[in-house]
């Protein structure tokens, strides 16, 4: 029943989007009002059909309707409702359906926002979105078929992968990342439409920036939550492992970050047109590559599902988009009018943006090479290898230092040209504060050069950003008077995007410092404690008060109860545990994390003998909390800039 309904709905969505390609194409070429309106309606129809289809799938998951093949694959009677809901994205077929849904919703939102805008360029963008949607709904109809009927229906299913049941973040991380990944299609479609029509006016660029900022916010949040999930669930004491699927999310993030900055220069100074458009197109290609890497099973990872024929189809689609967009760029780039650009000198904000693009592109290229190399190697030599973290870090460290320096220098220089005197005046105080922070950190006894350098750069960036945020307020106070609070509020309303950018920069500085400190000063050990005994490790005293088994509907949670003290002061209880799932032959650990302002304490069970001793792997890592805080500031800053102004349609 639900199978048939679902099949009908996804076929309807496929027909709507296929018709959408034709109608939007005709609308774009003929520029007829009727065709434009019909193209938009088809976008809404596809979104409606896919929303209903996803609703049907959720209904089947919640009611445990095992006659639907996807439910039989990931559902189980013992699974709690919330986990049933999120198991939509816990396996291949459901996640492709979800991809299609998100794309259809983005497309409908785009059609709605551009309903009064220049219809030709909007219809060209719709063509691009519809082509992508046809590919994804095509997958749901043909090879990734969540609605396939099963007869006879099994009485129960295995439930979703236990790793994915282990933390609430599984309900948030995947959809957030999808919103980032899939959303990349919108700036891509807009860039292609600009190339095809030869128009890239201020209005279109402003809209592109807003969409890119949204996508970037979701992508950043998704990556951040992924790191947090890895940290809270996997029990290896880290948040980033340079795993190919993590890299797959970092790649479009790097190029999109570059694209957003390049777009600032294109819209304000009419420069870097080819950089901007190419970076946006590359970002979309990288999200497709990332989806391929995570969804086709070519890599062994918690993200990859079983082998399926989806891989070759994805590669073909990537090839089509690559060749198609390259051709469009090659043939049309010269036709794109942006107006006469003002000139610029070597010491100017433009050049800092150029360096930002260069460094971010280089970063992306080194990560891409290291991530794809194992695939190529396996295809040619048949041997399985992976590229270790040190390769990536060798490039990530110097490139990040360069990027952080630009974060402070760039905003201090003016457009066009900056005289040496002005540059020195602008930079003197922030550089001095940075030096004080860096040298101070080193004198305070922090070993190595990494943390003092990161602290110095962070102080430099924060000073510059705060000054830039305060500058419009000070100027207005001098000119117009009024209360400080009123002028602050007015500055926020007037230049919300710029204020948001500086908040994101401050967040970046904090996150960079946290990453440097937590990775370079991580201490790891193994502790075995007998019941009621106390063991000291790295200045902490752990008292093991006993183990406890808690029976839950879908698992047995076996935990070790530990009391942690430091210098006689009790810090609290920690309960690392092992979980036994009925559907899995082996247990899964859940680490215990104690977040402190200065450092995190992290315990994960290696061995827990009932009524016997416990062995835990212990980690202490400084400043981890600040990574989440800095990351959230980045997301918040970008979201502030993305929030649409009332008059700024499309």
């Amino acid at each position: 029943m639900i199978s048939t309904l679902g099949q009908l709905l996804i076929h309807a969505a496929l027909i709507a989007s296929a018709a959408g390609i034709v109608v939007s194409g005709v609308a774009a070429v003929r520029d007829s009002a009727q065709a434009h309106a019909l193209a938009r309606r088809l976008a809404y129809a596809a979104a409606a059909a896919l929303t209903l289809a996803t609703g049907a799938m959720e209904w089947a998951l919640i009611t445990h309707d095992f006659s639907v093949s996807y439910v039989a694959e990931v559902g189980s009677l013992a699974t709690p409702p919330i986990i049933s809901v999120v198991s939509l994205w816990s396996s291949l077929d459901g996640s492709i359906l979800f991809w299609a849904l998100v794309l259809a919703l983005y497309q409908a939102a785009f059609a709605w926002r551009t309903r009064d805008a220049q219809p030709r360029i909007a219809s060209w963008a719709l063509v691009m979105l519809q082509i992508t949607l046809v590919f994804f709904t095509g997958l749901v109809v043909s090879v990734a078929t969540p609605f396939a009927p099963l007869s006879p229906a099994p009485l129960d299913g295995p439930g979703p992968n236990a790793l994915l049941q282990n933390h609430l973040l599984m309900a948030i991380h995947p959809p957030t990342l999808y919103l980032g990944y899939v959303g990349m299609a919108v700036p891509f479609a807009m860039a292609m439409a600009a190339l095809l029509t030869g128009r890239l006016d201020a209005h279109w660029m402003r809209s592109m920036r807003a969409w890119s900022l949204w996508v970037w916010s979701f992508l950043t949040l998704g990556i951040l939550l992924g790191g947090w999930w890895s940290y809270e669930v996997l029990g290896w004491g880290g948040y980033w492992a340079w795993d190919p699927v993590e890299n797959a999310s970092l790649l479009p993030w790097l190029t999109l970050t570059a694209a957003m900055h390049s777009l600032v220069v294109t819209s304000r100074r009419r420069r870097f047109r080819s950089w901007t458009l190419s970076l946006i197109i590359v970002s979309f290609l990288l999200t497709l590559l990332g989806t391929f890497m995570t969804r086709s099973g070519v890599f062994n990872s918690v993200h990859s599902f079983t082998q399926s024929p989806i891989g070759p189809l994805f590669l073909s689609f990537i090839a089509i988009v690559l060749v198609g967009s390259l051709a469009v760029v090659a043939l049309r780039l010269d036709k794109v009018e942006v107006g006469d650009p003002p000139s610029y000198q070597p010491v100017s904000r433009e050049v800092m943006f150029l360096l930002n693009n260069l460094l971010l592109s280089t970063f992306a290229f080194t990560v891409l090479y290291g991530s794809v190399y194992p695939l190529v190697n396996q295809a040619i030599f048949g041997s399985q290898i992976s590229v270790g973290g040190p390769y990536f870090e060798r490039f990530a460290a110097p490139l990040s230092i360069g990027l952080l320096a630009l974060l402070g220098v760039g905003p201090s220089l003016s457009w066009g040209r900056t005289g040496p005197g002005t540059a020195a005046r602008q930079l003197a105080a922030p550089v001095a504060l940075g030096l004080v922070a860096g040298v101070g950190t080193a004198l305070a006894g922090v070993s190595g050069w990494g943390v003092p350098l990161a602290a110095g750069l962070a102080a430099f960036i924060v000073t510059v950003s705060l000054r830039e945020m305060a500058a419009p307020v000070m100027a207005a106070l001098r000119k117009e008077g009024g209360t400080t609070a009123a002028q602050v509020a007015r500055a926020w309303l007037r230049s919300r995007r710029r204020q948001g950018a500086h908040i994101a920069h401050i967040g970046t500085a904090i996150a960079a410092l946290a990453i440097t400190a937590s990775s370079s000063h991580k201490v790891e050990g193994e502790i075995t404690i007998e019941p009621q005994q106390t063991v000291s490790w790295e200045g902490y005293d752990f008292t093991f008060t006993g183990d406890e088994q808690v029976r839950q509907s879908y698992r047995i949670n076996h935990r070790a109860n530990l009391i942690v003290r430091r210098a006689a002061a009790e810090l609290g209880a920690m309960e690392p545990s092992m979980n036994y799932y009925a559907t899995m032959s082996q247990p899964l650990g859940t680490p215990a994390v104690m977040n402190r302002v200065s450092e995190d304490l992290y315990l994960s069970v290696v061995r827990l003998v009932p009524e016997g001793s416990v062995t835990v792997r212990a980690y202490r890592q400084p400043l981890v909390v600040w990574l989440w805080i800095g990351g959230m500031l980045m997301v918040l800053g970008a979201a502030l800039g993305a929030w649409p102004k009332r008059d700024a349609r499309p």
Partner: protein
């Protein structure tokens, strides 16, 4: 050549030199940081090349081969792919599920004496039972189930 052309030429040249240097660096660092996913047979086939390399060795713990060192802080056992067998020495307490006959993946490198010195021991998590591929003696399964853990 006009000054403008000269400037462009110099810029292009410096970009090319930069790209070449980057390529050289990337190629070199990649070679130094590869992690090999090997079965005991592949490890033995690699010969002395394997000494000092980063290796993830996957296979089955040979029943009856586990010997605990004094104090129970480290252990020695053998890993097999049904064709060849490698002796593994692991420092530290193994995970709770570690036992004889189970699929395992150990990280580390092989020393001159031919003993694999493991720095990390993982037990493979298999959600579903799958018979190992007997035909070519490869056991890819252990890797499949431990990544990300």
């Amino acid at each position: 050549m006009s000054p403008e052309q000269k400037r462009r030429g110099a810029l292009l040249l410096s970009l090319m030199v930069g790209a070449a240097a980057l390529g050289f660096l990337m190629f070199g660092s990649l070679g130094d940081n590869l992690v090999y996913y090997w079965s005991p047979t592949e490890l033995i086939d690699a010969g002395t090349k394997a000494q000092g390399a980063s290796i993830r060795l996957g296979g089955m713990v040979v029943p009856g081969s586990v010997v605990w060192d004094e104090g129970g802080k480290s252990l020695t056992f053998q890993v097999t792919d049904n064709e060849n067998t490698v002796t593994v020495h692991n420092r530290g307490v193994p995970p709770e599920m570690f036992r004889e006959g189970i699929g395992t993946v150990v990280e580390g490198t092989i020393d001159r004496a031919g003993v694999f010195q493991a720095t990390r021991l993982l037990v493979s998590h298999n959600n579903e039972y799958r018979a190992p591929d007997q035909e070519d003696g490869h056991m890819d399964d252990p890797f499949k189930s431990v990544e990300g853990l």
